[in-house]
Amino acid sequence: MTGVRTILLVMSREVRQRLRSKGFFVFTALLCAGIITAGVLNRTLHSDSKPVYAVALAGDVPDGLADNLSTAAKALGITVRLSAAARADDVAAAVRSGQLDAVIDADHTRLISNRPPPATLAAVIDAAWRVAAARRAAAAAGLDPVQIAGVVAPPALTPAVLQLPAKKSDDVGRLVGTAAGVLLFVSINAFGGMVLTGVVEEKSTGVVEVLLSHVRAHQLLAGKVFGIGVVAMTQFCAAVAAGVIALRISGTTVPTAVWFGLPSALFWFVVGFVLYSTLFALAGSFVSRQEDAQGAAAPISMVFTAAYITMFALGANPSSTTTRVVSLLPPFAPLLMPLRIATGSASATEIIVAASLLLLATFAMLRLAGAVYARTLLHRGSRLKWGDALRMTSS
């Protein structure tokens, strides 16, 4: 029997046992529902802030006014809904009742509104009117269409921005990157904890003695970490999918860095999970009773929580030198890199270096853990210390 088959058997037991629990489904469903709800709320808030105005055109309106209005409205971020009326008096009641925001009375060159019109609306109407009126006046003066165009629509200025304001997209990136980090933290804590208690359960029930007559310690370790990893990833993917849906629903302009950052968060999640869970499994193998498990895992939890706090501390400034350096370190990379990628502040070189270091550290950790695990797993009685464990392996 090959080692891979054994690992797959151990994995499938873990997956089946975990998926049997209702808690997993309830939590995953709530998580996804929460994320999508956030998207829906965001959309509602955004559509409120995009005003719509109802404007009636009355009298002998110059040609092209309607087109000019919609173009100007779009440029200023408002929507103008137009209707037509024969005479301004016909719609006076509608203006008074608030059904209409304004009436353009072309015959008397008046802009009628119940109260002073909103500045943006007034500016849009003013600009559109001036151009349309100028066009009509020019035509009346006998200019041909080409001359008219030269007068009312001279060549526009070409924008030459020296520093592009990335403000808006940066915010979305930071939001998505931070959300991915929080999700990662919660998942690794929850499922890493599952690895920890799973290992201690095997020790405290003595089942490990029977298991080891058929399975090597490192196969048991790999099967457990990968099996619970599959369960964790299922939940993470569901959450990411919900996040994508939420972004679509919210109608926010999503920069490309985010679309690249979200799936890449999966990579950081998987490798980060393996790194931390292997450590959790090792800590579990040091103790024989569930009561001692949290104590043994405390050093790992501390490092992980420190990485989490660092994510918030440095996340505000994803391009600073400190952030750049710290985000390359394996214990921090899984939390910081998704944020830096989503905000577009990570260069390709940095991503490759961070990923390579993380993979290397994880591989080394798996090798070391495999060697330590065989000894510590069968240790009975009092809790081992990290130093004891390493000595047991080297002796």
């Binding site: 058997l9 046992q17 359960e201 029930t205 003595g206 003695e209 007559s213 058929h214 069968l378």
Partner: protein, 313 residues
Amino acid sequence: MLEVSNIAKRFGDIVALDGVSLTVRPGELLGFLGPNGAGKSTTMRAIMGLIAIDAGSVTWKGAPITAESRRRFGYMPAERGMYPKMKVRDQIVYFARLAGLGKSDAAQSAERWMQRLDIAARADDEVQALSSGNQQRVQLAIALVHDPELLILDEPFSGLDPVAVENMKTILDEELQRGTAVLFSSHQLDLVTDISRDVVIVDHGRIVLEGDVRDIRDRAPFRYASIGFAEPCSWSPTVADAEVLDTAGRFVRLKVPAATAPAALLDDAGSAGRVVEFSFMPPDLSEVFLSAVSHPAVPAPADGHLHAAELHA
């Protein structure tokens, strides 16, 4: 053939094993006996590769034991080892598959052993919901499900009622017929006398007695005799070095040298009254063991118990 030669193991200052050797051949049953803490479990864990030994060797079919050969072993640890929240059937199938059985073979074999051990009705219950007796059956099923070549059973009889002990004996007999080599341990020395003919008895990590149970008992320098008269009578045995242990009503219990001829003793008793019951037995294994290790504070064998046992032997 399993060969354990001269294995030694220390845990810090404590000597757990000090030169233990034993051999189990296919189709053979070896009882591994001794008080608690004698080194039985340590030896078995060494065979299963669960601890590293300091000296000596353990071989199977003449070669050091590998992970691959160990997969053909069935192991039942003294402290039970199962997943409490896993269903009985799933658990047995899982271990069968880890031992290398295919999906359908594992399912079939699990079904067969659940029937055989009378736990089929509990197949879909979590192990933690079972009584300790039934949990022990599941544990046995796990050890047997892949038709192992060698069975290592640590205290398989502890906690079993007499019916379950009989059932276990039948199963072990069948396994022996199949050619399985069986090593089992027990701290109840006398219980195994009618289960296993060959025993190894350890104490403090060393072998104190080994061989055929009958030979070991026969080597004792004395015998117990018990005579039941038809009516109470006073009788002083004339046999050399006879020691009267106990007279209660019409029964007399004696301790006599091993060389005493039973017929002479019976004649002697017959001269005092009509004899209706007579037994002449070597001491129990536990007594031989106790005198062999000569523990200082050894209580005398429980008279009443021994008495009754011998009368019916």
